[in-house]
Protein backbone atom coordinates (compact mmCIF):
# COMPACT_ATOMS: atom_id res chain seq x y z
CA UNK A 1 0.00 0.00 0.00
CA UNK A 2 1.17 3.52 -0.74
CA UNK A 3 -0.13 6.85 0.46
CA UNK A 4 0.53 10.52 0.96
CA UNK A 5 -0.65 13.34 3.21
CA UNK A 6 0.13 17.00 2.73
CA UNK A 7 -0.41 20.52 4.02
CA UNK A 8 -0.14 23.25 1.39
CA UNK A 9 0.70 26.95 1.62
CA UNK A 10 -2.99 27.82 1.81
CA UNK A 11 -3.52 25.70 4.90
CA UNK A 12 -5.38 22.93 3.11
CA UNK A 13 -4.85 19.31 4.05
CA UNK A 14 -5.24 16.26 1.79
CA UNK A 15 -4.80 12.50 2.05
CA UNK A 16 -4.49 9.78 -0.60
CA UNK A 17 -4.02 6.02 -0.44
CA UNK A 18 -3.65 3.34 -3.13
CA UNK A 19 -3.18 -0.40 -2.81
CA UNK A 20 -3.23 -3.82 -4.41
CA UNK A 21 -4.62 -5.33 -1.23
CA UNK A 22 -3.44 -8.69 0.06
CA UNK A 23 -1.67 -11.47 -1.81
CA UNK A 24 -3.96 -14.46 -2.35
CA UNK A 25 -7.08 -12.57 -1.25
CA UNK A 26 -10.42 -14.10 -2.15
CA UNK A 27 -14.10 -13.26 -2.46
CA UNK A 28 -13.66 -9.65 -3.59
CA UNK A 29 -12.13 -8.69 -0.26
CA UNK A 30 -11.66 -4.95 0.12
CA UNK A 31 -9.34 -3.54 2.80
CA UNK A 32 -9.23 -0.18 4.49
CA UNK A 33 -7.50 1.92 1.84
CA UNK A 34 -10.62 3.00 -0.08
CA UNK A 35 -12.81 3.20 3.01
CA UNK A 36 -13.07 6.91 3.81
CA UNK A 37 -12.55 7.33 7.55
CA UNK A 38 -10.75 4.00 8.00
CA UNK A 39 -7.69 4.18 5.74
CA UNK A 40 -7.96 7.69 4.35
CA UNK A 41 -9.26 10.91 5.90
CA UNK A 42 -8.68 14.66 5.81
CA UNK A 43 -10.18 17.59 7.71
CA UNK A 44 -8.67 21.07 7.70
CA UNK A 45 -9.66 21.55 11.34
CA UNK A 46 -7.61 18.58 12.47
CA UNK A 47 -5.43 16.39 10.25
CA UNK A 48 -4.94 14.27 7.16
CA UNK A 49 -4.28 10.53 7.55
CA UNK A 50 -3.29 7.66 5.25
CA UNK A 51 -3.00 4.10 6.56
CA UNK A 52 -1.31 0.83 5.67
CA UNK A 53 -1.56 -2.54 7.31
CA UNK A 54 -4.06 -5.20 8.21
CA UNK A 55 -7.09 -3.46 6.74
CA UNK A 56 -9.83 -5.34 8.55
CA UNK A 57 -8.64 -3.91 11.87
CA UNK A 58 -8.30 -0.41 10.48
CA UNK A 59 -11.92 -0.61 9.36
CA UNK A 60 -13.13 -1.88 12.74
CA UNK A 61 -11.28 0.87 14.62
CA UNK A 62 -12.14 3.48 11.94
CA UNK A 63 -8.54 4.53 12.41
CA UNK A 64 -8.18 7.73 10.40
CA UNK A 65 -11.43 9.40 11.51
CA UNK A 66 -10.88 8.32 15.11
CA UNK A 67 -7.56 10.19 15.18
CA UNK A 68 -9.28 13.29 13.79
CA UNK A 69 -12.11 13.00 16.31
CA UNK A 70 -9.69 12.61 19.21
CA UNK A 71 -8.09 15.87 18.15
CA UNK A 72 -11.37 17.69 17.48
CA UNK A 73 -13.38 16.55 20.46
CA UNK A 74 -10.68 15.52 22.90
CA UNK A 75 -8.11 18.24 22.32
CA UNK A 76 -5.44 15.62 21.78
CA UNK A 77 -2.31 16.41 19.79
CA UNK A 78 -1.74 14.66 16.47
CA UNK A 79 1.08 12.44 17.73
CA UNK A 80 -0.77 11.61 20.93
CA UNK A 81 -3.97 10.62 19.10
CA UNK A 82 -2.16 8.71 16.33
CA UNK A 83 0.01 6.82 18.82
CA UNK A 84 -2.94 5.78 20.93
CA UNK A 85 -4.87 4.45 17.95
CA UNK A 86 -1.94 2.82 16.16
CA UNK A 87 -0.01 1.49 19.15
CA UNK A 88 -2.90 0.62 21.49
CA UNK A 89 -6.34 0.35 19.91
CA UNK A 90 -5.41 -1.50 16.72
CA UNK A 91 -3.05 -3.99 18.43
CA UNK A 92 -5.61 -4.53 21.19
CA UNK A 93 -7.84 -6.19 18.60
CA UNK A 94 -4.94 -8.13 17.07
CA UNK A 95 -4.20 -5.88 14.12
CA UNK A 96 -0.97 -4.28 12.97
CA UNK A 97 0.35 -1.79 10.45
CA UNK A 98 1.09 1.90 10.39
CA UNK A 99 -0.04 5.32 9.27
CA UNK A 100 1.18 8.74 8.28
CA UNK A 101 -0.57 11.92 9.37
CA UNK A 102 -0.08 15.68 9.25
CA UNK A 103 -2.02 18.30 11.17
CA UNK A 104 -3.17 21.81 10.26
CA UNK A 105 0.02 23.29 11.76
CA UNK A 106 2.36 21.12 9.73
CA UNK A 107 3.23 18.70 12.52
CA UNK A 108 3.49 15.15 11.26
CA UNK A 109 3.74 11.65 12.71
CA UNK A 110 4.41 8.21 11.27
CA UNK A 111 3.67 5.52 13.90
CA UNK A 112 3.79 1.82 13.02
CA UNK A 113 3.94 -1.44 14.90
CA UNK A 114 5.21 -3.89 12.31
CA UNK A 115 8.20 -4.41 10.03
CA UNK A 116 8.34 -3.40 6.37
CA UNK A 117 7.39 0.24 6.68
CA UNK A 118 8.77 2.73 4.16
CA UNK A 119 8.51 6.41 4.94
CA UNK A 120 9.43 9.74 3.37
CA UNK A 121 9.06 13.40 4.31
CA UNK A 122 9.80 16.64 2.51
CA UNK A 123 9.53 19.91 4.40
CA UNK A 124 9.06 23.48 3.21
CA UNK A 125 12.84 24.04 3.05
CA UNK A 126 13.10 21.16 0.58
CA UNK A 127 14.91 18.82 2.94
CA UNK A 128 14.05 15.19 2.20
CA UNK A 129 14.20 12.22 4.55
CA UNK A 130 13.52 8.66 3.36
CA UNK A 131 13.72 5.67 5.70
CA UNK A 132 12.92 1.96 5.57
CA UNK A 133 12.00 0.35 8.86
Amino acid sequence: TVGAVALDQHGNLAAATSTGGMTNKKYGRVGDAPIIGAGTYANNETCAVSCTGWGEYFIRVVVAKTISDMMEFGNRSLSDAANEVMMKRVPALGGDGGLIAVDKNGNYTMPFNTEGMYRGVVKADGSIVVEIY
Binding site: A4, A6, A15, T19, T23, K25, T40, Y41, Y118, G120
Partner: protein, 185 residues
Protein backbone atom coordinates in the same frame (compact mmCIF):
# COMPACT_ATOMS: atom_id res chain seq x y z
CA UNK B 1 5.06 28.53 5.98
CA UNK B 2 4.91 25.00 7.25
CA UNK B 3 3.85 23.13 4.17
CA UNK B 4 4.90 19.50 4.21
CA UNK B 5 4.42 16.23 2.35
CA UNK B 6 4.67 12.82 4.02
CA UNK B 7 4.48 9.50 2.15
CA UNK B 8 4.41 5.79 2.91
CA UNK B 9 5.24 3.07 0.46
CA UNK B 10 5.09 -0.25 2.25
CA UNK B 11 5.90 -3.06 -0.11
CA UNK B 12 3.69 -5.55 1.65
CA UNK B 13 5.72 -8.68 1.12
CA UNK B 14 9.20 -7.24 1.46
CA UNK B 15 10.49 -6.90 4.98
CA UNK B 16 13.53 -4.92 6.05
CA UNK B 17 15.20 -8.15 7.12
CA UNK B 18 15.02 -9.45 3.53
CA UNK B 19 16.18 -6.24 1.88
CA UNK B 20 19.33 -6.21 -0.28
CA UNK B 21 21.42 -3.04 -0.70
CA UNK B 22 20.40 -2.84 -4.36
CA UNK B 23 16.71 -3.09 -3.56
CA UNK B 24 17.00 -0.60 -0.75
CA UNK B 25 18.61 1.87 -3.14
CA UNK B 26 15.84 1.37 -5.69
CA UNK B 27 13.12 1.88 -3.06
CA UNK B 28 14.75 5.01 -1.72
CA UNK B 29 15.09 6.44 -5.22
CA UNK B 30 11.42 5.80 -5.97
CA UNK B 31 10.30 7.31 -2.67
CA UNK B 32 12.52 10.33 -3.24
CA UNK B 33 11.07 10.86 -6.71
CA UNK B 34 7.55 10.75 -5.24
CA UNK B 35 8.54 13.38 -2.67
CA UNK B 36 10.21 15.61 -5.25
CA UNK B 37 7.21 15.55 -7.57
CA UNK B 38 4.84 16.41 -4.73
CA UNK B 39 7.16 19.07 -3.35
CA UNK B 40 7.46 20.79 -6.72
CA UNK B 41 3.71 21.40 -6.58
CA UNK B 42 3.65 22.60 -2.97
CA UNK B 43 6.63 24.90 -3.44
CA UNK B 44 4.88 26.72 -6.28
CA UNK B 45 1.81 27.29 -4.14
CA UNK B 46 -0.09 24.34 -5.60
CA UNK B 47 -2.71 22.41 -3.70
CA UNK B 48 -2.15 19.60 -1.25
CA UNK B 49 -4.59 17.56 -3.35
CA UNK B 50 -2.35 17.89 -6.40
CA UNK B 51 0.73 17.09 -4.30
CA UNK B 52 -0.62 13.85 -2.82
CA UNK B 53 -1.98 12.82 -6.22
CA UNK B 54 1.43 13.37 -7.82
CA UNK B 55 3.27 11.46 -5.10
CA UNK B 56 0.93 8.48 -5.16
CA UNK B 57 0.99 8.36 -8.97
CA UNK B 58 4.78 7.93 -8.91
CA UNK B 59 4.47 4.99 -6.53
CA UNK B 60 1.61 3.45 -8.53
CA UNK B 61 3.79 3.59 -11.65
CA UNK B 62 6.70 1.89 -9.87
CA UNK B 63 6.78 -1.93 -9.87
CA UNK B 64 8.33 -1.84 -6.41
CA UNK B 65 5.18 -1.06 -4.46
CA UNK B 66 1.93 -2.85 -3.80
CA UNK B 67 -0.20 -0.40 -5.76
CA UNK B 68 -0.76 0.10 -9.48
CA UNK B 69 1.99 -1.72 -11.40
CA UNK B 70 3.53 -4.08 -8.90
CA UNK B 71 0.29 -4.82 -7.08
CA UNK B 72 -0.05 -8.22 -5.47
CA UNK B 73 -2.21 -10.96 -6.97
CA UNK B 74 -5.53 -12.29 -5.76
CA UNK B 75 -6.16 -16.00 -5.37
CA UNK B 76 -7.60 -15.96 -8.90
CA UNK B 77 -4.38 -14.50 -10.29
CA UNK B 78 -5.76 -10.99 -10.85
CA UNK B 79 -4.61 -7.58 -9.68
CA UNK B 80 -7.52 -5.85 -7.94
CA UNK B 81 -6.75 -2.27 -6.99
CA UNK B 82 -8.27 0.13 -4.47
CA UNK B 83 -7.63 3.84 -3.94
CA UNK B 84 -9.05 6.83 -2.10
CA UNK B 85 -8.48 10.54 -1.77
CA UNK B 86 -9.90 13.21 0.51
CA UNK B 87 -9.76 16.99 0.67
CA UNK B 88 -9.59 18.57 4.11
CA UNK B 89 -10.86 21.92 2.83
CA UNK B 90 -14.38 20.78 2.00
CA UNK B 91 -14.22 17.15 3.13
CA UNK B 92 -14.89 15.98 -0.39
CA UNK B 93 -13.84 12.38 -0.91
CA UNK B 94 -13.58 9.81 -3.67
CA UNK B 95 -12.68 6.13 -3.83
CA UNK B 96 -12.55 3.17 -6.17
CA UNK B 97 -12.33 -0.50 -5.23
CA UNK B 98 -11.71 -3.78 -7.03
CA UNK B 99 -10.65 -2.21 -10.30
CA UNK B 100 -8.45 -4.17 -12.70
CA UNK B 101 -7.84 -1.96 -15.74
CA UNK B 102 -7.28 1.59 -14.45
CA UNK B 103 -3.58 2.38 -14.74
CA UNK B 104 -3.64 4.91 -11.87
CA UNK B 105 -6.49 4.18 -9.47
CA UNK B 106 -5.74 7.35 -7.50
CA UNK B 107 -6.71 9.42 -10.57
CA UNK B 108 -9.99 7.51 -10.75
CA UNK B 109 -10.64 8.13 -7.05
CA UNK B 110 -10.04 11.82 -7.61
CA UNK B 111 -12.41 11.82 -10.58
CA UNK B 112 -15.08 10.19 -8.41
CA UNK B 113 -14.56 13.00 -5.90
CA UNK B 114 -14.53 15.87 -8.38
CA UNK B 115 -16.66 14.69 -11.28
CA UNK B 116 -19.47 12.71 -9.66
CA UNK B 117 -21.98 13.03 -6.86
CA UNK B 118 -20.69 9.84 -5.28
CA UNK B 119 -17.91 8.88 -2.90
CA UNK B 120 -17.13 5.30 -3.91
CA UNK B 121 -17.39 3.22 -7.08
CA UNK B 122 -16.42 -0.43 -7.50
CA UNK B 123 -15.42 -2.86 -10.23
CA UNK B 124 -16.59 -2.57 -13.81
CA UNK B 125 -18.73 0.48 -13.10
CA UNK B 126 -15.79 2.37 -11.68
CA UNK B 127 -13.72 1.43 -14.72
CA UNK B 128 -16.44 2.63 -17.08
CA UNK B 129 -16.67 5.93 -15.21
CA UNK B 130 -12.90 6.36 -15.24
CA UNK B 131 -12.76 5.77 -18.98
CA UNK B 132 -15.52 8.32 -19.50
CA UNK B 133 -13.34 10.87 -17.67
CA UNK B 134 -10.39 10.25 -19.94
CA UNK B 135 -8.38 8.30 -17.39
CA UNK B 136 -5.95 5.83 -18.89
CA UNK B 137 -7.26 2.26 -19.17
CA UNK B 138 -4.79 -0.61 -19.61
CA UNK B 139 -4.89 -4.32 -20.19
CA UNK B 140 -4.79 -6.17 -16.84
CA UNK B 141 -1.45 -7.68 -17.89
CA UNK B 142 0.12 -4.23 -17.40
CA UNK B 143 0.09 -4.82 -13.65
CA UNK B 144 1.94 -8.15 -13.82
CA UNK B 145 5.33 -8.45 -12.17
CA UNK B 146 7.27 -11.67 -11.81
CA UNK B 147 8.06 -11.07 -8.15
CA UNK B 148 4.40 -10.63 -7.19
CA UNK B 149 3.41 -13.69 -9.22
CA UNK B 150 5.97 -15.75 -7.34
CA UNK B 151 4.56 -14.28 -4.14
CA UNK B 152 1.14 -15.64 -5.01
CA UNK B 153 2.53 -19.10 -5.76
CA UNK B 154 4.35 -19.11 -2.42
CA UNK B 155 1.21 -17.99 -0.61
CA UNK B 156 -0.77 -20.79 -2.23
CA UNK B 157 1.85 -23.28 -1.09
CA UNK B 158 1.50 -21.89 2.43
CA UNK B 159 -2.26 -22.35 2.14
CA UNK B 160 -1.75 -25.98 1.19
CA UNK B 161 0.52 -26.46 4.18
CA UNK B 162 -2.08 -24.94 6.47
CA UNK B 163 -4.73 -27.29 5.10
CA UNK B 164 -2.47 -30.26 5.79
CA UNK B 165 -1.78 -29.01 9.27
CA UNK B 166 -5.47 -28.48 9.86
CA UNK B 167 -5.78 -32.25 9.99
CA UNK B 168 -3.60 -32.20 13.09
CA UNK B 169 -5.05 -30.07 15.85
CA UNK B 170 -2.72 -28.25 18.25
CA UNK B 171 0.10 -27.99 15.75
CA UNK B 172 -2.10 -26.39 13.10
CA UNK B 173 -3.53 -23.86 15.52
CA UNK B 174 -0.06 -22.95 16.70
CA UNK B 175 1.04 -22.50 13.10
CA UNK B 176 -1.86 -20.27 12.19
CA UNK B 177 -1.63 -18.07 15.22
CA UNK B 178 2.12 -17.56 15.09
CA UNK B 179 2.33 -16.68 11.41
CA UNK B 180 0.40 -13.43 11.30
CA UNK B 181 3.14 -11.83 9.22
CA UNK B 182 2.14 -14.03 6.32
CA UNK B 183 -0.94 -12.01 5.51
CA UNK B 184 1.01 -10.26 2.71
CA UNK B 185 -1.04 -7.09 2.67
Amino acid sequence: NKYVLVIHGGAGTILKSKMTPEKEKAYKEALTLALKNGYAILQKGGSSLDAVTAAVTVMEDSPLFNAGKGAVFTNEGRNELDAAIMSGKDQAAGAVAGVTTIRNPILAARAVMEKSNHVMMVGAGAEKFAASQGIKIVDPSYFYTEERWRGLQNAKKEDSLKMELDHGSKKSKAYLFTNKDNKFG
